[in-house]
Every structure is written in C-alpha cells, then in structure tokens.
C-alpha cells in the first residue's frame, strides 16, 4: 500500500514512527562514529578544562573567577570583581588566571568577561585540546554531523512535502499538523545531530558526575574541608549552582543568571555526620579500622 494514500491521521502516525526510527538511527550513527572509548587520557584534574567541556567559555570563566575569589586573588563585592593585588606568581600560574586578573585590574561586573576578546586565545587553546581528545566535535565530526542532518532533513521534509502536495492536489487543506510535525521533527533531528559535546565527552561528564555525586550530597557539611581546587572541581562538573549558597554567598551575586548547564541545583539540607564516610570503611560498620572495634 502506498503510504501517501493514507488518510491524514493515519499518515501522521506513520510519519511519527518513521521519524522516531530516523532519530534512533541518527543517534546510533553518531555514537558509533564519535565513540565512547577514549583515545587520549581526558584532563580530569583540570577544573577549567572540565568546565569548558560542560558549558563552554562561559562556564570556564565562571569557575576560574570563582577559584580566584576562593584563593583571595579576586575580591567579590555586589556582583563586581576586582583583583586583590596579591598577584603572587605561585598563586596565579595558569594563563586563564592571569588573563582574568588582568581583566579585573579595575572593578567590573563579573558577567562583563563573558564576551570579552581577552579570553579568546585561552578558550581557543582549551577547545583545541578537547577536540583533539575527541571530547568536543572536531572538523571531521562537524562535517559528518552536517551530512547526517542534511540527509535527515531531506527525508523528513521531503516525505512531508510530498504528502502535502498530494493532499493539496486532492483538495485537502488540513495540512497544518503535518507542517508543524515536520518542523518539529527537523528541530529534534538538529538536537540529535549537533549536541555540544561528543558521545565520548558526554560519557566523561557522566562518569565524573557519578564519581562526585556522593560528595555533592554532603557538600554543605564538607565545604570547610574542601580547598579551592576541590571546590573548583565540583563547580566544573556540576556548575556553580551546585555549591552550597551559605558557604559561597558571593556566587549568586557574581553570576545571577541561572547556570543551565549544571545537572544539579544546590541543596543544603540537613547536616550530616562528617566524621564517617558513606559506604564501607576498612573495618566494617563498627566504626573501627582494620581490627579495632572500640571498647
């Protein structure tokens, strides 16, 4: 039977089914091509690079600025930042740290740095590295994605277009649903074909979140124990909004717009006992070590 001869509602169902199969195919194709097996060791110890992977230049700048405030190299006041003047070489060795301290030589709003050209070189170097590591799409990946999307749009728009023409030739004018569905399908195809990170990059972010999720649940009670680099690592993976607001009150004023790229939001519920870790210890549940069990 010719699917183009189906009645409107029936054709819409078939079109949806076709689109779903197409979406699954697109996702699988991209997964196979971009892969999940790492070819290079991803930079999991560099919070700035991880932040860039999660949310681009904006996220990286936010985490870097936060870490500089945490280290006392930037002063934060009412959403404005200013270098503290303590530019000890040992404390600000990263190129991004130096660039931010230079930018905030005079007091400015924190969000002013988002679009400043001063950070283009540093961002470019980070992005290049992430592309080389297969965590962000490189030129070949982008070309392949564009080809996939082009074919998908041809198929989705083409099939919808043929049906619309046939319907109009037969005097049918109720084609709005099909037009809307066709546009929606193309948008979904775009989202599937062009995610910001590669499959490998997304897997790395998922892995890092899984490693740190238990810590995040206890972030309120642990904030005093976390040094700046540990906190920057948490912020890089989850976003600044994941940090307990009472421990870092300046964050909300520095960057008032919500960080959409974070996967969790800050919660500072009931305090938990920080004297023992979650999960097993080497002495079982009695609180002792390997062999000790108190009196």
């Amino acid at each position: 039977m010719n699917p183009f001869d189906l009645r409107g509602p029936e054709f819409l169902v078939v079109y949806c089914a076709f689109a779903i199969v197409l979406f699954i195919g697109l996702a699988r194709l991209r997964r196979i091509r971009e892969g999940t097996a790492s070819q290079a060791l991803p930079p999991i110890s560099d919070p700035y690079t991880i932040a860039y992977l999660r949310g681009g230049q904006k996220a990286m700048l936010e985490v870097a600025a936060f870490s500089l405030v945490a280290r006392g190299l930037l002063n934060a006041e009412d959403g404005q930042l200013c270098a503290s003047g303590r530019h000890e070489a040992t404390l600000a060795t990263e190129p991004l740290d130096k660039a931010i301290l230079t930018f905030f030589r005079s007091k400015s709003r924190a969000i002013a740095m988002y679009r400043d050209a001063a950070f283009r070189d540093v961002s470019g170097a980070v992005e290049d590295r992430l592309c080389r590591d297969g965590l962000l799409p490189n030129q070949n990946d982008q070309e392949a994605r564009s080809r996939d999307f082009g074919v998908a749009v041809l198929m989705l728009a083409g099939i919808a277009g043929i049906k619309i023409i046939i319907a109009m030739e037969r005097g049918r004018s109720n084609i709005q649903f099909l037009i809307i569905l066709g546009i929606a399908a193309c948008v979904i195809a775009y989202r599937i074909c062009f995610p910001r990170v590669t499959k490998r990059g997304q897997q790395l972010l998922n892995d890092l979140r899984n490693l740190l999720n238990p810590l995040l649940r206890r972030a309120c009670s642990l904030s005093q124990q976390l040094g700046w680099k540990e906190t920057a690592t948490v912020a890089a993976i989850f976003g600044l909004t994941a940090l307990p607001a009472n421990a870092y009150p300046f964050v909300g004023k520095m960057f008032p717009a919500p960080d959409k790229s974070s996967s969790t939001s800050s919660s500072c519920g009931s305090s938990s006992d920080s004297s023992s870790s979650s999960g097993s210890s080497c002495g079982g549940s009695c609180g002792g070590g390997c062999g000790g069990c108190g009196s």
């Binding site: 790492s38 060791l41 991803p42 999991i44 110890s45 919070p47 897997q203 790395l204 998922n206 892995d207 890092l208 899984n210 490693l211 740190l212 238990p214 810590l215 206890r218 642990l222 124990q225 976390l226 040094g227 680099k229 540990e230 906190t231 920057a232 690592t233 948490v234 920080s274 004297s275 023992s276 870790s277 979650s278 999960g279 097993s280 210890s281 080497c282 002495g283 079982g284 549940s285 009695c286 609180g287 002792g288 070590g289 390997c290 062999g291 000790g292 069990c293 108190g294 009196s295």
Partner: protein
C-alpha cells in the same frame, strides 16, 4: 642504595575525598577502592570507576570475604569480587587475614583467627579458592586486634610466615596494625618486622588511631582510621624501606574525620620522605 624509582604512594578512595583526589591526581600514584561498595553498583557507577582506572592504577580492597577462617569461604561472595575484578581490571586486589562470620552469624568486623595449624591450612585453602575464582591471587593484609585470639598456639609473625609460605602469597603490610598490636600486646614492632619475609610485601597500608580505655583502667590503641598517621608508623615505614629492595606501594587509609585533602597529600609526602630516608640508609 638510592631511593627506588618504583616506590608508589596512594590513597584510599572515599566519596568525601573524591574531589580532592581528582584535583590532585598528579600527586597520587595509586588509588585503592573498597570493593564491597561496588559489588552491586549499577553500570554508570562502574563506568565511572573504569574511567578512573584509565587515569590512575586502581587496586580493589575487599573487606567481607573472611578468608582466614576454618569455614570454607563462600564462592558466591568470591564470585562478586571476581565479576567486579573482570569489569574494572584493577592492578591488584586484596583482602584481610581475618574472619567475618561464623556459626551463621555475621560479625560485621574483621576478627583475628586463632593462630594455629588448622587456621593456616584453612586460610591457605580459602586463598587458593579465591585465587581460582578471581583468577588473580590477592594480597593479604595483617589486621589489628583488641583480642588475643583464644586457641592460638603460635604468635602472629609465625602465623603470617606460615600462611605466606603455604600459599606463595604476598603481604599487604599494615604498619599501623603492627604498631597498634605491638602497643596492646607489648612486643617490639621492629622485631616483629624482622621476622616477616619483607621480600614478600605486595603493598603497605598507613593509618592512624586513637587511645581508648581498657578494662583494667589502662588504655589500648584502636586502629580506627580516623586520625593522622603517627610518627612511629612513619619510622616503621622507613625501617621497612631500609630492609627490602623491592619497590613499595604505600597506601594511606582514612575512613572519616577528614582533614583537607592537601593535608592527606602531605601525609603521603611524609611517607615518601620516610621511604627515601630508608632507601638511602640501606
């Protein structure tokens, strides 16, 4: 002897230390994972562990097999270790010279077995079983005990030597356990070490403890892993480094009461210095 280039210094993975370990991975040579935390872990959690294993050598540390027992170890439990080992492909795995269950009861504690021929033979049999199922022999750890096991016919060094000889295995030498036992039972820790086959050390644990009251209004040293490594333990480490030519893998255990991670890294550096001193004197 110059400082061995293959000596490694690492830390036990605990959720509270996760961010610190990731942030300072360049100062950590190996990470020890409590295996029992991951036996029933979902796929995403295991994927994260595999990602970590790609970044830094991992070793699995079991706490629930109870291999030092005259009761045959449960194959089902060993099977869980085997499956985790297969999925994570760690550098090594370890367990304790302890029993954790008996008479149908779970002790939920690492208990020292009576030190006699029967437990030597039974431990060797359990180790052989575990090795067969997992496919790799475990490194076995000496434990601290607040109770001198009744029914013991030999002392701890003799028992450890007997088991190691019977199994051909290697020792995870927990120096705080040696220190705590030497305090609590009045023997010389260095003499204890002299009686061990130090060429059979597969790894070293460092930890801390605290004093607790004893029944006779005295006090005992509890190996609770909640305190910093005390100086006598570093001294024992230096002694071991002097006595053996083998590369040492030293792992710091901390189960709670966490200081900032940089302080724990500092304790690793202190361990590094102790090993260096030991190597240079040898």
């Amino acid at each position: 002897m110059a400082a061995a280039v293959n000596d490694r210094f690492g830390i036990g993975w605990r959720p509270d230390l996760a961010a610190g370990i990731l942030a300072h991975l360049d100062r950590i040579d190996i990470v020890e994972i409590i295996a029992d935390d991951y036996f029933d872990a979902p796929a995403p959690k295991l994927s994260a562990l595999r990602m970590l294993a790609a970044q830094v050598p991992l070793t699995l540390h079991g706490i629930g097999l109870g291999l030092a027992s005259t009761v045959r170890a449960e194959e089902k439990r060993i099977g869980r270790m085997a499956r985790l080992h297969e999925k994570i492909r760690p550098e090594s795995w370890s367990e304790h010279f302890a029993f954790v269950r008996g008479g149908g009861l779970e002790i939920e504690h690492l208990a020292a077995p009576p030190r006699n021929l029967a437990t030597v033979e039974a431990t060797a049999a359990n180790l052989a079983l575990a090795t067969a199922i997992v496919g790799v022999r475990p490194v076995m750890e000496n434990i601290a005990t607040l109770i001198d096991p009744p029914g013991s016919e030999i002392d701890e060094p003799a028992w450890l030597c007997a088991v190691l000889h019977a199994t051909g295995g290697t020792l995870l030498l927990d120096l705080h356990n040696v220190h705590a036992n030497s305090i609590n039972y009045g023997f010389n820790a260095y003499g204890f070490l002299d009686r061990l086959p130090l060429d059979r050390i597969g790894a070293i644990h460092l930890a801390g403890g605290k004093w607790i009251p004893a029944g006779d209004s005295g006090r005992r040293l509890l190996d609770d892993h909640l305190h910093d490594v005390p100086d006598p333990v570093y001294a024992l480490l230096e002694y071991v480094a002097r006595k053996t030519q083998n590369p040492l893998t030293v792992i710091l255990e901390r189960d709670g009461n966490y200081p900032p991670v940089l302080e724990l890294i500092g304790q690793l550096d202190k361990a590094r210095d102790a090993v260096c001193r030991g190597r240079m004197v040898a």
